[in-house]
Amino acid sequence: MTASQAGAPSAPASASKTYSHVTCLFCGLHCDDLEITRTGQSLQVSNNGCHRGKSGFERPLVHAVPRVAGKTATLDEAIAAAAAHIAKARLPGYGGLATDVDGVRAIMSIADKSRGVVDHALSEAQSRNIKVLQTSGWFMTTLTEARNRADLFIIASDVQAFHSRFFEKIVCAEKTMFADTPPKRTVVFLGEGFDASAAVGPRIGDVVRINCKLERIGELISALRTLHRGTSLPGEDVAGVPLAQLEDLLDRCRKANYGVVTWVPPGLNFPHADLTVHQICEFVKDLNVTQRFAGLSLGGNFGVPTAASVCTWQSGYPLRVSFASGAPHYDPLRYAMPALIASKQIDCLLWLSSFIADMGPPDTDIPTIVLGTNDMQFKKEPDVFIPVGTPGIDHRGQIVRCDNVVSLPLADLQRGAGLARTVDVLAAIEAAL
């Protein structure tokens, strides 16, 4: 087993340096065209960032040291305390998991050894997709393919709210490699209250809004599928949308050379949203019988595709895996971390959150170890706190993009913060078990 991203320890911060082609950590698109200037220990996004990236990279470096039971401790003491909590746990939980590939590898290793359970903080949203993958599958595309090829985008979530450069980079892209004069694209917003302000510019043709409640997108798509099969529908509307408008949308779909339906799993935050994803994916399959169409799932913030991918290739299953028996056991309901915490089925929680301070541990009186960003604040002091570096800022790393195909390198921006790497901390805790 390699910790292939070990990298050299952070160099001491020198006066000023500009880094190009920097990968942004702060949403699942992982734009890698950022230019970042470091002055001393401060970072500034000098080109190509969005507000989310800017606030992530530019957060001030506050001094933090490990704490055990609220008291300042050395790293070794904190590691020993963490190991003691895990060693005496009957079922330790490993949650959060906002980390890079090596961080997840280290979590998998210690969870395997300590017979724990692994889950990511955002896996509820991701599970809406995974349920569909595991029951019927799908036909998907990726960001570059959509950017060049799509002539119709159906936007079935508030994409702009989650990924503020998606329209700039994909939908409104100036050029396409398949035409010297790039044709205009049709953009259909299917839902309610979505921010459509970014769907502007020379590439954008018709912008169509079909207003319906989020919870009823699935019903609308199901109606489209029915119409596509040539069956007529009773009544005059579906989910408040006139049938004529649906017929028009179907006509646009059928005329598209390459249509893309995109959604953001965390944006479909209502019960049984997997059924909406399922309808979208089946509609895409229906259309592909005679033409080309594809799904494009976004989301994937805070390393959730990374956690699911590494967990899958190492254990066979995409998170919510328990090693309690010594072998991996998968149960996406039983091993959901929020439920395990609420029911106190786990008796020790290691919470890993190395991207942003806001993603702290859930409120619980279960003994909690936090490997967190240096500026993390707590309502309730965890039993052990170990500040760790952010991959892509304080050390090198790798991360998987929302389309689950592309992964990107993360740079060391050399703040010289002296923060430990997650992988080293976890390896030391594991060695002490």
Partner: protein
Amino acid sequence: MLIKFTGGKVYDPANGIDGQVRDIFVRDGRIVTPGAGEAASQEFNLAGKVVMAGGIDPHSHIGGGKVTIARMMMPEDHQGHEVARGDLTRSGCGHAIPSTLTAGYRYAEMGYTAAFEPAMLPANARQAHMEMADTPMIDKGAFVMLGSDDYFLRLLTKGAHKDDIKDYIAWTMHAAQAVAVKVVNPGGISAFKFNQRMLDLDEKHPFYGVTPRDIILTLGRSLQELGVPHPIHIHGCNLGVPGNKDTTLATIRASEGTPIHLTHIQFHSYGTEGDMQFSSGAAEIAELLNKSPNVSIDIGQILFGQTCTASGDSMRQYGNTKSAHPKKWVVMDIECDAGCGVVPMKYRDKSFVNALQWAIGLEMFLLVNDPWRIFLTTDHPNGAPFTTYPHLIRLLMDKTFRNEMLRRIHPGAQAATILGTITREYSLYEIAVMTRAGPAKSLGLKDRGHLGAGACADITVYDDNPDREAMFTTPAFVFKNGEMIVRNGKIVKVVTGDTHVVRPEYDRKRVEKPLKEYFDSYHTVQMENFRLSDEEITEPGCGHAPGTCGCLVIHPTGART
């Protein structure tokens, strides 16, 4: 420290040794010729045992996005096949699409010391290497996919200078950290994105106007001129389509003497005769292969049971979704670079088509004369999981067993195959060629796949059990770099394995100027980040000599012409 392996029957085809009793000496992980009177500090008495180099699987989907999609889609593949953590080994799971860790352990326990991922998309190379890094015990390497990527097709369409094409191929091999180049459904993956459902050898791509023949020949000749040891690795047009034997025959003829490797040829050897309009083309193809010394093949044997197919061939895999079992599948268009299709499949011996596929693969094995040009594969997991290799070896080595199995399959398929009339039985020497020496030679791994002085001491020792399936399932010992890693089929030491790459010469400055423009105009990843650096795939500061611990092994190329 000098280690002596005494008295084993050695099968080392690269050095012409066919079962003679020989002593083998190992020092510092390499096979050596000891000085006169030099005493060994450790000795293994292998009297009566069979000794071969470690097995090398030249085509096995062990890492990369599509394999992980398959793992994620198929929890039912893993359930009931969980593997608990051991004293030395991590937990995992595994049947058709095992977890990376389990795959590494299983390969080693079966006497294999290397496996090559044959379909690494450039856009997914980083993840493929992550997964290979998490596959312990064995050496790894990957073939990078070209031929349906828009950059290559644009070069071809505009009639780019052949040096520009060669530079791009070399750049891609460097960027993706590859050991060879594969083409999958040449141009077809791209054509499918334009809603083309089939692309035969001389059919024009609907947008670029080039044909699969142009693509294959350009890649084949360029690789030869770049001095890359392994010839273009071809997954041809029309995979799985009845009648595709004609395309395969035409592809062999189209090579015009340029070295080519036709992979999983079983899936490309179908005729259209008989009531079911599905018949064997193996005899016809084997006859042409026997006369075509520039062509090598691997089989992609199917064996009965549940598996999950995973391929870069989105066009043909979409066609195969009709046969998905269970009824779920993933097809993807990927990054103006490639595609993939993941389709679960259950091969049944009572299905006419599946049974005949089984027979076609075996016919091909037995009708191709030269074992140096045919490699033993199931196209893991597409024909069957790699763990079925010992069973497959027995089918090849034991005519009585083979005919017994033949009698169990669909009667129509029995009637449609000449398998029962073939009396050939593979020898241990031929098995050693097909599973070690041949693949190593073809991939340019000069110090692997043989037991001569200077070779890496990857050695497998078997009991000479007449039940060849039992023999190849449980080796007595496996040594990796001279260290014992397996005893009686159980892991006794966990090692990492190396990553093999080939780096043909190219003009980086010249190729990166237009590439940078291309990436900036059309891509969502920066060219600089598309490239996978050495630091990303090696263990930094490991302190070991190259080639001893998950490090990169860079194999030499021939001179560029």
